[in-house]
Every structure is written in structure tokens, then in C-alpha cells.
Symmetry: C2
Subunit: 203 residues, 2 copies
């Protein structure tokens, strides 16, 4: 079980890295610090992870996959669609909490928004939309959700959860080009309709 020992060390590194990254963000953590946390030399970290970036990515990937896996198995359990959606949303809040400052960093300093990280987060977002679509399709088929296009609705609900503002900041160079604005305007209008449905009295 030498491999077991190796992955134990690896897990320890990932754990220490997660704690530091989640609190201080990527650039304000040094490899020396992470190594010191688990009583190792910095050079040893490079035996397990080729770069600092890959270590960070692995931390995010692990946490994200945990979340996505949980949701997927919940869907597979075939509980009521209504509860699926509620559980998903609550679990999502939890997940966001775990990666709090890690994710918040997306919307902070430009310097932190490195291309590989953007790709990582966008990939996660895509998978999340996909899960949401599954839930909505099930909800529609079973007749519990009054939606015409689950694919479309999923994107809107996601947008709602991410917040319209996040959208804008995502646009290149923090500037509002016409294209970005039209997309924002469109989804903002659709969100309004959902809000209306949400608070209108049932007939």
C-alpha cells in the first residue's frame, strides 16, 4: 500500500492548499506556506503537483466534482422534481460557501482571472446547467413544472443564481459592449416574467 501512502500525502497537500486558497485567494498564497502547514519542504510539493496552478485547479476540480456528483446521484434517486430543485439550490449554496473566496476571486481583481481558471469555472458552469436541465425536463415530463422549454429555463435560473451583475463583469475588459448588453437585457426581461409568476396569485 505504498500508493495509499502517496495519495494520503497528496490529500494532505490538497487539504492544506484548499484551506489557504479558499481564504486568501490564489496569488496571496505561497507554496512555502502550504508546505509549512503540513511540515514539508516546498520542493516536496513539486513531487506530487507539477505547478502551483495545477494544484489550485485540482482543489477546485475536487470540490466541484463532489458537488456535481452529489446532485447527479440526487437526481438518480428520483425524488419529487420540486424537491430536487430545492435540494439542488440548497446544496449549491453550501458548495459556494466551501469555495467562498475561491470563487469570489472571479469577480475581483483582474490579475486573478487567469485564462485557465476562467475555463475551469466555465466548464463547471456548463456541467451545472446540464444538471439543472435534467431536473427541469423531469419536472416538465411529470407535469409538475409549467415550463415550455427546459433547456432555456435552465439557463435563466442559472443566470438568476449567478446574478445578472456577474454576467456583466464576465464580459471582456470589464466593459459593456453592445452584445453583452443585449444578452443582459434579454435575460433580465425573462427573469422579470419568472418573478411575476412567482408572486402572482394562483387563479
Amino acid at each position: 500500500m505504498t500508493e495509499q501512502l502517496s495519495s494520503e500525502k497528496q490529500a494532505a497537500i490538497l487539504d492544506a492548499a484548499r484551506k489557504r486558497f479558499a481564504y486568501y485567494g490564489f496569488s496571496k498564497v505561497t507554496m512555502d506556506e502550504i508546505a509549512a502547514d503540513i511540515g514539508m519542504g516546498k520542493a516536496s510539493l513539486y513531487y506530487y503537483f507539477p505547478t502551483k496552478e495545477s494544484l489550485f485547479q485540482e482543489v477546485v476540480r475536487q470540490e466541484s466534482n463532489q458537488f456535481l456528483g452529489d446532485i447527479q446521484s440526487m437526481i438518480d434517486d428520483r425524488i419529487k422534481p420540486c424537491d430536487m430543485l430545492r435540494q439542488y439550490a440548497l446544496r449549491r449554496i453550501e458548495h459556494f460557501k466551501n469555495l467562498a473566496n475561491l470563487r469570489a476571486l472571479q469577480f475581483q481583481q483582474n490579475s486573478e482571472v487567469r485564462l485557465p481558471f476562467v475555463e475551469l469555472f466555465n466548464d463547471f458552469k456548463k456541467q451545472e446547467v446540464n444538471l439543472l436541465q435534467q431536473i427541469l425536463v423531469i419536472g416538465k415530463k411529470s407535469g409538475e413544472f409549467a415550463i415550455s422549454d427546459p433547456q432555456h429555463s435552465a439557463v435563466i435560473v442559472m443566470q438568476m443564481l449567478y446574478g445578472p451583475r456577474a454576467w456583466i463583469l464576465h464580459s471582456r475588459e470589464n466593459k459593456l459592449d453592445e452584445e453583452t448588453f443585449l444578452a443582459f437585457e434579454q435575460s433580465a426581461k425573462e427573469i422579470v416574467e419568472i418573478i411575476l409568476n412567482g408572486i402572482k396569485k394562483r387563479k
Copy 2:
């Protein structure tokens, strides 16, 4: 009508300032540029406005008051509550467009988020919530909205419109303290319920 002439000049300054500020943000606009736009010397601007900051504030205040005034008079017209809410949301998108980069600046660089501006925007937010509350109270009284607490709902809808993410970035030093997170968590959960109501099939 010498005063009329004065306020005409003042209006011209405000107009030039609005155009520049809305596009480039506060710090990337110089008083010289604004003055040049209307063919005046910079020093003359200081005859009408004591500081650059006061000029900026006046621009925001004017645009905001226009918006708030429009909504108020729409409410006074006593149209259907449902249309009130829809109109409000659409007009809000329009308003946001006018102040696009002016407002976007709230969520960008730290350097731009100066205390007097935060207060200005928070003040606007308060007034906006108040209008929204009026609409919801009317909607509830007339029996068109199925909400228990209009005061509370107004805050939630606002949060939805501003986006939960914006909330987080608002917190001091861009750091997620416990208090901020609890507030976020609470409202996120409530937003979930609204989403659910919005897409659930009517019985």
C-alpha cells in the same frame, strides 16, 4: 432671466459630464476634458460646481431622480399592479443602461468605490425599495399578488434584480465575513422559493 442662462450652462456641464462619466467612469475623466467638450475653460466649471466629486454626484442624482420620479408617477396613475411591476422592471433596465459604466464601477476597482459614492448609491437603493414596496402593497390589497409581507418581498425582489453576487462584493474589503454570508444565505434561500413559485404549475 439671467438665472435661466446660468442653469443652461449648468445643464450643459452636467450633460457633458454625464456622457463622459457614463462611458469612462469617474477617475478616467478630467475636468479639462469636460470643459473642452462645451468650449469652456476648466476654471469656469468650478464656478458652478465646487468639486469634481460634487459634479459626479449631481449627475447620478439627476439621472436617479428622473428614474424614481417616473416610477412614482406611474404608481400614482393607478394602473394594474401587475403592469406596474412589469413597467418598473423595464424602466429599471433602461435606467441601468443610461448609467451603465457609471454603475458598473461600483463592482469594479476598489479605487472607484469611494465612500460618498457608496452612500449615494445606497440612498438610491433605499428609495427604490420603497417604491417597490408601494407597488407590492397595492398589489396585495387589490388581491392580485399572493404575498404575505410586501416589505419583505420588496427586499427579496430587489436582491434578485441586483444579483446575489453584487451583495457579496458590497461587503467591506471584498471579504466574506460571517455576517455578510448569513445574510446572503438567507436571501438566497428565499430567492429559491420565488423561483419555485415562478415555475411551478398552477393548480
